[in-house]
């Protein structure tokens, strides 16, 4: 079964299930994988930083890089994953429109925040396909930990 991960969402899966998140634009998809237990997590974050991110007193922790990644990691650890064996693959953070306006370069800010969050958790990044100017769908196979990337006009490849 393909388990769909929405925008501001994360899910964890084991074989034979797969994880998929569609059409990452400036959002970033983060796959955490433990090869010994074959457990994969996929997070689709929208924004870099949860500071001042609460809406009406509620914080959607799955929306932000700095909260979603540790939460997903903790869930994986609670499922028996050894934290030292976890590796990351990341994709997304595109600049969808070149408007010449720097304040909107949220894709780049998302990439920086995701890398910082992974570094703080001491999770190495094995592969990445980030930035540039196109959208990506990300499919994770928990059997191998490999991530397939699909694009609208640039084909398909594997991380």
């Amino acid at each position: 079964m393909k388990i769909s991960v929405g925008i501001s969402d994360w899910k964890i899966a084991m074989p034979p299930d797969e994880l998929i998140t569609y059409a990452l634009g400036s959002c970033v998809g983060i796959c955490l994988y433990d090869s010994s237990k074959k457990i994969a997590g996929l997070s689709h974050i929208m924004l870099p930083d949860s500071a001042n991110g609460d809406v009406g007193g509620k914080l959607n922790r799955m929306k932000f890089a700095d909260t979603a990644i540790p939460d997903m990691l903790n869930q994986m650890i609670s499922m028996g994953v050894m934290r030292g064996g976890i590796k990351a693959r990341i994709a997304g953070g595109a600049v969808m429109f070149k408007t010449g306006s720097d304040r909107f370069n949220i894709g780049e800010r998302n990439i920086v925040a995701v890398k910082a969050a992974l570094q703080a958790l001491r999770i190495p990044i094995l592969a990445q396909d980030v930035g540039k100017d196109f959208g990506r769908t990300m499919i994770v196979d928990p059997n191998t930990g490999l991530v397939s990337i699909k694009s609208a006009s640039k084909g398909q490849w594997t991380l």
Binding site: G6, I7, S8, Y22, A23, L24, G25, S26, C27, M46, L47, G53, V55, G56, N60, K63, A94, M96, F97, K98, T99, G100, S101, F104, I106, D133, F134, G135, R136, T137, K150, S151, A152, S153
Partner: protein, 204 residues
């Protein structure tokens, strides 16, 4: 008003009318440019969850062309024109003769033509709102891309994600020559801009 959910019926009615006048004007501009019959539906004011905003008929992956025009001065936000393949083909055939285009491999002229049409339609839209509400609304240079629907919609979704959990847009479906070649034109203002617009129109 702190977030879109605070809007009342009277606000929705006004926004619908703004969308009606704005996109009516934009459609007339399109009709004049390409010499086609342009049919426009009543606009809908939509409050979408972010997940719903990035999906179209249940999918995020359909390839569409998009022209984005950012607004500034008295109204901040954006106008986003989303064009399906058949619609783009029909528009381009008005300029370059009969042809069916593949959105993923448009040439430079075709990109320029679609960008300019999006730009003219956006300005017609803005001009109509400006005179209606007596506001000075500026527009930045248009920006064009072809990509997955969801990846394009992630742009407004992310900007609104900083202040809430919903996206408000005034959506209008445009049909060409009575055939189902749909295009969507979205006006997406920020919350402070909406408040300002209502103040100007005397509705608080």
């Amino acid at each position: 008003m702190k977030k879109f959910e605070d809007l009342q019926d009277v606000h929705i009615d006004v926004l619908t009318e703004i969308g009606n006048i704005g996109s009516g004007n934009a459609s007339m501009a399109l009709s004049a440019m390409i010499g086609c019959e342009v049919v426009i539906s009543m606009p809908q004011v939509k409050f979408l969850s972010f997940q719903d905003a990035v999906e179209k008929n249940g999918s995020s992956e359909e390839t569409v062309a998009a022209v984005l025009v950012r607004l500034n001065n008295e109204v901040e936000g954006m106008i986003l024109l989303l064009v399906e393949r058949e619609f783009a083909s029909h528009i381009l055939s008005a300029f370059y003769g009969e042809k069916s285009v593949d959105l993923a491999s448009l040439n430079e002229d075709e990109v320029s033509a679609l960008t300019e049409i999006g730009n003219i339609m956006s300005h017609s839209y803005i001009n109509a709102i400006s005179s209606l509400a007596n506001m000075n609304i500026g527009a930045e240079t248009p920006s064009f891309t072809v990509d997955m629907f969801g990846a394009i919609m992630s742009v407004p979704v992310i900007e609104f994600g900083e202040v809430g959990e919903k996206l408000m847009c005034i959506d209008k479906v445009i049909e060409l020559d009575g055939v189902k070649m749909k295009s969507n034109m979205l006006l997406i203002p920020t919350v402070p801009s909406l408040e300002h617009m209502f103040d100007k129109l005397g509705i608080s």
